[in-house]
């Protein structure tokens, strides 16, 4: 068959409207499970401080002679800790013309930018607060102050690969832990860390980990034999994942973290950590310098690790 001559078809005509969906699709890990789960507080200065205390070791030989004088006083002092409020910032701008043209998927480019940057700034904060990051104060007008992340704080209940070394709080700042030789995640590693945490008094309730470690966790023998009964002509279900690990001391929720953890599993008691905000997410219009509208988004906050011994880490995993 041949097409008749002078036939008007879509291939040769002009004036067809384009078919562009009025939606913008985004696939990105947007959740902030750690920050969403821990407490919230208010910071009133750029340095936020709190105190911890501990008990003396239990003493089974504690006995006194009848009528004896009081023993030597034993003081129990508190420890004062601090972390620095970090300014998270995003700047964006849109030309005047861009706001006037007919756009697909959004009515205002400036509003779209605002929404996207809001998601990004929360992700930045999440990554900082759960990770192995040191703290530092602002200095010299060029080094911004930074909040330490959870993994850098933990020194009591930690399982590290060979050559790894704790970070931890000392002299007003927190050092990041030094990575050790990576090893394969096993249930034995997790159990050992949980036993240490339990002996310290920790009450671990949530385990945050990367996707690969979540899959390895799901293959632990404790849940490997699960079968789901198939009734009638229904299709069988393969249960390959676990959401809760029933340990010896607690039930632990398993939370995969898409971007915050790559080589460590953070075992957390959410009630013993919090975000202290000096200033929430705020958007300010910047002064006009030309034919555009620019905005600055800020968020100033720090992580409060109420007591690092309440948490644990299985570090340096492949």
């Amino acid at each position: 068959m041949t097409v008749p001559s002078n036939l008007v078809s879509t291939a040769s005509s002009v004036g067809q409207r384009e078919d562009l969906e009025d939606v913008i699709y985004r696939v990105a890990p947007e959740k902030t499970p750690f920050v969403s789960m821990i407490g919230k507080g208010k910071a009133k200065a750029r340095t936020h401080e709190w105190q911890t205390e501990s008990l003396a070791a239990a003493d089974a030989t504690n006995a006194a002679v009848e009528g004896d004088d009081a023993p030597t006083l034993a003081a129990n002092t508190t420890t004062r800790l601090k972390n620095f409020c970090q300014i998270f910032v995003k700047a964006y701008g849109v030309s005047r013309t861009q706001e006037l043209v007919d756009l697909a998927g959004r009515s205002s480019e400036l509003v779209r930018q605002r929404v996207i940057k809001g998601v990004e700034i929360r992700r930045d904060m999440e990554k900082r607060f759960i990770g192995n990051y040191a703290s530092n104060d602002e200095s010299g007008g060029s080094t911004p102050r930074r909040s330490a992340g959870l993994l850098a704080w933990i020194t009591t209940n930690d399982s590290r690969g060979s050559g790894g070394s704790d970070g931890g709080y000392s002299g007003g700042t927190v050092s990041a832990a030094t990575n050790g030789t990576q090893r394969t995640l096993t249930e034995a590693l997790v159990k050992a860390a949980l036993a240490t945490a339990f002996n310290t008094g920790a009450d671990v309730k949530v385990a945050f980990m990367g996707a690969t470690h979540k899959q390895q966790f799901s293959a632990f023998t404790g849940i490997a034999d699960i079968r789901k009964e198939v009734t009638g002509r229904g299709q069988a279900t393969i249960i390959a994942g676990a959401d809760v690990y029933v340990g010896d001391f607690n039930e632990i929720a398993l939370v995969p973290h898409p971007y915050g953890l790559t080589r460590d599993i953070a075992l957390v008691d959410p009630s013993m950590a919090a975000v202290a905000s000096l200033d929430g997410v705020k958007t300010e219009a910047l002064a006009k310098t030309g034919d555009s509208n620019r905005e600055l988004m800020t968020m100033e906050a720090t992580l409060v690790v109420r007591n690092e011994a309440a948490h644990a880490v299985v570090a340096d995993l492949t």
Binding site: N157, S162, G163, G164, T181, A192, T196
Partner: protein
């Protein structure tokens, strides 16, 4: 975590990880260390400050990690060598 500055120098040496280079470490190999590719291992010696602070990679459940003593030799991932040296915990040998 304790930091025992008076601990006697131990002569223990950790077995190299499987992926570690097989050649014998030489004196003055520091320049080589800086060029080690990520994923390789470098032999290091624990300094006084590092005693009781560098993990052996062994965690005793309910107790905690076991740590190297002053003078112990161990293999560290090449990407951690600078950090261990800057923190004064260990030196490359």
């Amino acid at each position: 975590m304790s930091e025992d500055q008076n601990e006697p120098v131990a002569e223990t040496q950790e077995a190299a990880p499987e992926a570690a280079p097989v050649e014998k470490p030489k004196k003055g190999a520091k320049a080589k260390v800086k060029e080690a590719a990520p994923g390789e291992f470098v032999q290091m010696r624990v300094l006084k400050k590092g005693a009781g602070r560098i993990s052996k990679g062994v965690h005793e459940g309910g107790v905690g990690d076991e740590f190297f003593s002053h003078g112990d030799l161990f293999y560290a991932p090449s990407e951690s060598v600078d950090e261990l040296e800057e923190r004064g915990l260990a030196e490359a040998v």
